[in-house]
């Protein structure tokens, strides 16, 4: 196995970022196309803030909506995938620093990961 040099780690992270964003964009595009085919002629109004319904706010509601091919649930699923891209990048960096035996940066990266996960727990299961 080749050594876990900074350069190699950064290349792998680059690939992870690129494919993650492409996947998320594809899901959002699919959901958006479905929405516009079905509801493209309805009037949209964002002047008044109502807040999204709860099934578009948490993970289980979004996944349930997406697997039953609800277009808005599918877009939100793409959004969750998109949020997962930087989170995965940080998680991957924890492993990479651990393989480099760089303890200081394992701790640094774990702190960043903890803040991100705290934010995501607010979305709820």
């Amino acid at each position: 196995m080749r050594a876990w040099t900074d350069e190699r780690v950064e290349r792998m992270i680059g690939a992870l970022l690129r494919w993650g964003v492409i996947l998320a964009a594809a899901v959002i595009l699919a959901g958006g196309a479905m929405y516009l085919v079905r509801y493209g002629s309805t009037i949209s109004d964002y002047r008044v803030f109502r807040g999204e319904p709860s099934d578009l706010r948490n993970v289980s509601g979004i996944v349930k909506g997406a697997v039953s091919w609800h277009s808005r649930g599918l877009i939100q699923l793409g959004l969750l995938l998109l949020i997962a891209v930087p989170v995965a990048r940080v998680a991957f960096s924890v492993v990479a620093f651990a393989l480099q035996r760089d303890r200081t940066y394992v701790v640094v990266t774990l702190i960043v990961l903890a803040v991100l996960l705290y934010s995501l727990t607010r979305v709820g299961p």
Binding site: S41, R72, P86
Partner: protein, 278 residues
């Protein structure tokens, strides 16, 4: 205007914003929110939610390209992300307690400041002879490629940069922008990191920062999928296009024009915020 027309127009606007944002280095996020709020009549909270999502997409997409060139510094980025993510959470919580008008006024002021920051001359600081103990402990000193081969650099004033990064994160979480201008200021001016390393590392950090506040916005119902779709797809396509022509285009005049647009939007946001129209 029906949903299809609305989505197409927002997509085109976001495409232009992403394109100009990446060409000028000012970022697309700073124009998305005013564009949606002022031109499309979108409530500023929905606009900020949609903008945050597009910031994650463009940052991650662009970072993938920069990583290959060997400019960005993973360690500096990761360490400073502690400050930006905690700042982003603070900003997102603050956003719920502020009126849309107050947010609009702050946004306008930040637009002014961003335009100023990116147009002012940048003196390159010579790297000082003595290494900074904290930067050395954190192994931040590194090298970057130049035309004369690898150039080494030393990092200074880590606590100062860390503090300013907290502010950058809070602005990102409050306003739904990448706040790249403030991040670059912290690295380039305070920590004296070479400009090219600062900008690429900043780009790398923006996605992680935005992800920290997006969770809060999503759980609060500020992120509308039907609005997110054209904004995210438009800015992503625009910024990728911008990155392609970046090397060829003369960006100086473009940056001045884009800065004037930003200043005009800033005036309008502050005016509308103060008169309570948003």
């Amino acid at each position: 205007m029906n949903s299809l027309e609305f989505s197409l127009l927002v997509w085109l606007g976001s495409l232009a914003a992403g394109f100009l944002g990446s060409l000028t280095g000012l970022g697309g996020g700073v124009v998305i929110v005013p564009l949606l709020a002022l031109r499309f009549g979108v409530d500023i909270r929905y606009a900020i939610g949609a903008s945050l999502v597009s910031v994650i997409a463009t940052s991650s997409g662009a970072a993938a390209a920069y990583v290959k060139e060997g400019y960005s510094n993973l360690r500096i980025g990761m360490f400073l992300e502690i400050a930006t993510t905690i700042g982003a959470l603070a900003g997102a919580f603050l956003a719920a307690r502020m009126s849309p008008s107050a947010i609009a006024v702050i946004f306008g002021v930040v637009l002014f400041y961003s335009a100023y920051l990116s147009n002012r001359p940048r003196p390159e600081h010579p790297s000082a002879a003595r290494p900074d103990p904290l930067a050395a402990f954190l192994r931040m000193d590194s090298t970057y490629p130049t035309t004369e081969g690898l150039q080494s650099y030393r990092v200074h004033n880590v606590p100062g940069g860390f503090g300013l990064m907290f502010v950058a994160g809070a602005l990102s979480g409050l306003l739904g922008i990448g706040s790249g201008a403030v991040k670059v200021l912290a690295m380039d001016q305070v920590m004296r990191i070479p400009f090219k390393v600062s900008t690429t590392t900043s780009n790398f950090m923006i996605g992680v920062t935005a992800a920290a506040s997006t969770g809060v916005y999503l759980s609060r119902g500020y992120i509308d999928p039907v609005l997110v779709m054209p904004v995210m797809l438009g800015t992503l396509a625009g910024s990728m296009l911008g990155a392609r022509v970046l090397t060829r285009a003369k960006s100086r005049i473009l940056r001045i024009v884009f800065s004037l647009v930003i200043l005009a939007l800033g005036v309008e946001l502050i005016y509308n915020g103060l008169t309570g129209r948003l």
